[in-house]
């Protein structure tokens, strides 16, 4: 599959008949079907929505902005299909439109003659991939062959940066939440000092008192985690809905995976129980009368 990437201007044609500048029928090669006068193209959904075009509409493609439809670098085409954008992160921030044409059509419009920007090659298996890679690069025709996977790695560098950024922000918010949680639990346990004092004076052991407070902290943490999961899930739905609208892409921007959920719940439980234990132990060690303020 060869690709030509170029910038085109699109001008709508009103009415069904092709304009006088429409591409002439190319000479047919023996055994090959003749090329129709008006050929079909596929446009992406964004272009469809913004131009308001429908299937069957005719538009003029211009290889050079400002040219008339009679120009040698112009072609009247029919919209035969709409293409949905893939969930490709690398396209997210780009506001460009996409038009799919026949190769020879774009070569002519872009004055590319018999050139392409790149080839994509499908091989039988990975061994064949390596052989082809070596053979193409050795031929030294002035271009290089790359494994698709290597290209993906290179082009995903942007997202690796974003991922690292998100991770750093995540760490900071976890630290903030941990401090907040510790403080709140300390306060909540402190509020119970008179209850604890009364229990200790009655003869209830430290162990029982600490156990009861830790159990309370655990229940609060569990409940909070469950609530947080729900809120987190709802927020990701909102994020995806919003950014899919802004960037007009089916890409998922946020996802709560089982791993993420497990990590969040585990961390909040650990923090909650740990903080509760520390606070309870501190309180249980204080003399009961001191807890009463005497």
């Amino acid at each position: 599959m060869a690709r030509v990437l170029g910038a085109l201007a699109v001008a709508p044609v009103l009415g069904g008949a092709p304009g006088p500048g429409a591409a002439s029928v190319a000479e047919a090669q023996p055994g090959v079907r003749p090329i129709p006068a008006v050929r079909g193209v596929a446009v992406d959904e964004r272009l469809r929505d913004d131009l308001g075009v429908r299937l069957g509409d005719r538009v003029v493609l211009l290889g050079r902005p400002g040219d008339g439809r009679d120009s040698a670098l112009a072609d009247t085409v029919r919209i035969d299909a709409f293409v949905r954008r893939g969930a490709d992160p690398s396209e997210v921030a780009r506001a460009e439109y996409r038009v799919r044409l026949h190769l020879d059509q774009l070569q002519r419009l872009a004055a590319y003659d018999n050139r392409v920007d790149r080839f994509a090659v499908a091989t039988r298996d990975s061994a064949a991939t390596e052989r082809v890679l070596g053979a193409v690069n050795e031929a030294a025709f002035g271009f290089r062959a790359h494994r698709s996977r290597d290209v993906a790695v290179r082009t995903s560098r942007t997202f690796q940066v974003v991922q690292r950024f998100h991770r750093a922000i995540g760490v900071i918010t976890v630290v903030a939440s941990a401090v907040f949680l510790l403080c709140i639990l300390l306060l909540k346990v402190d509020e119970r000092r008179r209850d604890v004092a009364a229990l200790r004076l009655m003869g209830i052991s430290r162990r029982t008192v600490v156990g009861a407070l830790v159990l309370e902290a655990s229940l609060v943490s569990l409940l909070g985690s469950a609530l947080g999961l729900g809120v987190g899930w709802a927020v990701t739905q909102g994020i995806n809905w919003y950014y899919q609208g802004v960037y007009r892409t089916p890409l998922l921007f946020a996802l709560v995976t089982p791993g993420v959920a497990l990590f969040a719940v585990t961390l909040s439980l650990a923090l909650g129980v740990g903080a509760g234990f520390l606070a309870a132990r501190r309180m249980a060690r204080t003399a009961p009368l001191a807890l009463f303020g005497r």
Binding site: A140, T158, T173, C183, L187, K188
Partner: protein, 402 residues
């Protein structure tokens, strides 16, 4: 006296106070970082665009400068059209392209390119793309100014002569133009990534070296508008006169880049709001619990003649002290984390080396931290007013019984 009382109250529960200050500090740091992020990209990009005072840019239709390999044809006519406007005082034409530095094969023949760089054909008198660090500008024929990355990649130094070529045709395996170019200077390029090798050559040289693809073509034209002239008006008129290009002002470019980077601004806003909420909640909770514990003391203060307003003032002072201490610590923490986060985001491929995501402005710090301190002040008002309004006799009795 009130200050002493507030300090004494906070020091009574050191662990709790310390944790609260820490919590507020982390919230303050995150809030400051987000404020820096929200405004930083715009500031940084604006400064970048205006580093040499060029407010207008003309690029191939429908593209941003160097967004693609497309070029503008009939360059001479384009430049004439731009210069015809008396409000435009300087015009800098630029052609971009690939430059190959050729090595020598062991057998004395020619090997493939030893290094490939991004080349900019410029008019050195009016160029706005680099700042000379060493040597001099490339003004004539086969001269070039190189970036530090270029010199590293080629192993060359200022004064060396290099075999350079451009306009490579992969089918004919030929270059459209070759030169033996002298490295006459080293420059710091504003708009290219730090790790990318870049070389600036005289415009005519690069146009000639690129052959047909470079003849009478430009990638970008920068224009400086006279002081007092309406930049937007000049832009609109240029666009009308030359519809085959896209005329972009600094404001338009900013808006387009902001739109692309809007994610970070929105993230900054959301995280900033969350930080503020956390800081507020923390102080509110601490003050509320502290007040509930001291209801008896507050009743005694009221009984000995301390007014309700003064009781509220006292408690609000405690909340403010927590927020202030946290904000001060958070400022230092925020600056450190901003540097760290900036370093992460600076790794974006293709980002100009001079671009920063987090830009510190004192006004931002005042705003952000001032907001946090204010929220700390407000956090204490309601619980303290409630406690100070409790019936004194009943509270004293309950306190005595309890």
């Amino acid at each position: 006296m009130r200050l002493a009382l507030a300090a004494a109250t906070l020091l009574r529960h050191r662990t709790r106070t310390l944790l609260a200050v820490l919590g507020v500090a982390v919230s303050a740091a995150l809030l400051l970082d987000m404020v820096m992020l929200a405004g930083g990209m715009r500031e940084s990009f604006r400064d970048l665009l205006l580093v040499r005072g060029y407010q207008l840019r003309l690029s191939p239709k429908g593209t941003l400068p160097f967004d693609s390999d497309a070029t503008m044809e009939r360059a001479a006519a384009l430049l004439a059209a731009v210069r015809a406007d008396p409000r435009i005082v300087a015009v800098s034409p630029i052609l971009g392209g690939q430059l190959h530095v050729l090595g020598a094969a062991p057998d004395g023949g020619e090997s493939g390119p030893a290094a490939t760089a991004f080349a900019m054909g410029l008019d050195a008198r009016v160029q706005g793309d680099y700042e000379l660090v060493r040597g001099r500008h490339a003004v004539a024929g086969a001269e070039l100014v190189a970036s530090p990355a270029f010199l590293r990649a080629t192993g060359a130094r200022v004064g060396d002569t290099l075999d350079v070529a451009a306009g490579f045709d992969p089918q004919l395996r030929q270059y459209a133009g070759r030169r033996r170019a002298v490295v006459v200077g080293e420059g710091r390029f504003f708009y290219t990534p730090g790790e990318q090798p870049v070389a600036a050559l005289p415009l005519a040289t690069l146009q000639a070296m690129r052959g047909e693809e470079g003849r009478d073509r430009l990638s970008l034209v920068m224009a400086r508008v006279a002081d007092g002239a309406d930049v937007e008006q000049v832009r609109a008129e240029l666009q009308r006169r030359v519809p085959r290009v896209s005329a972009i002002s600094t404001a338009t470019a900013l808006a387009q880049v902001e739109q692309r980077l809007s994610y970070f601004r929105q993230l900054a806003f959301i995280l900033g709001a969350i930080s503020l909420a956390i800081g507020f909640l923390l102080v509110t909770t601490l003050v509320t619990v502290s007040v509930n514990e001291r209801v008896g003391e507050i009743a005694v203060l009221r009984a000995i003649g301390v007014s309700r307003a003064h009781v509220v003032q006292q408690i609000v002072l405690e909340g403010s002290a927590l927020s202030l201490a946290g904000a001060a610590l958070g400022l230092a923490l925020g600056l450190v984390t901003a540097r760290y986060l900036n370093a992460i985001l600076g790794d974006f491929p293709g980002l100009p080396a001079a671009f920063a995501f987090f830009v510190f402005r004192p006004i931002d710090a005042w705003r952000a931290l001032g907001l946090l301190v204010l929220s700390g002040v407000l956090a204490g008002v309601y619980p303290s007013w409630r406690a100070a309004s409790l019936p004194i006799a009943t509270t004293l009795r309950e306190e005595a019984v309890g």
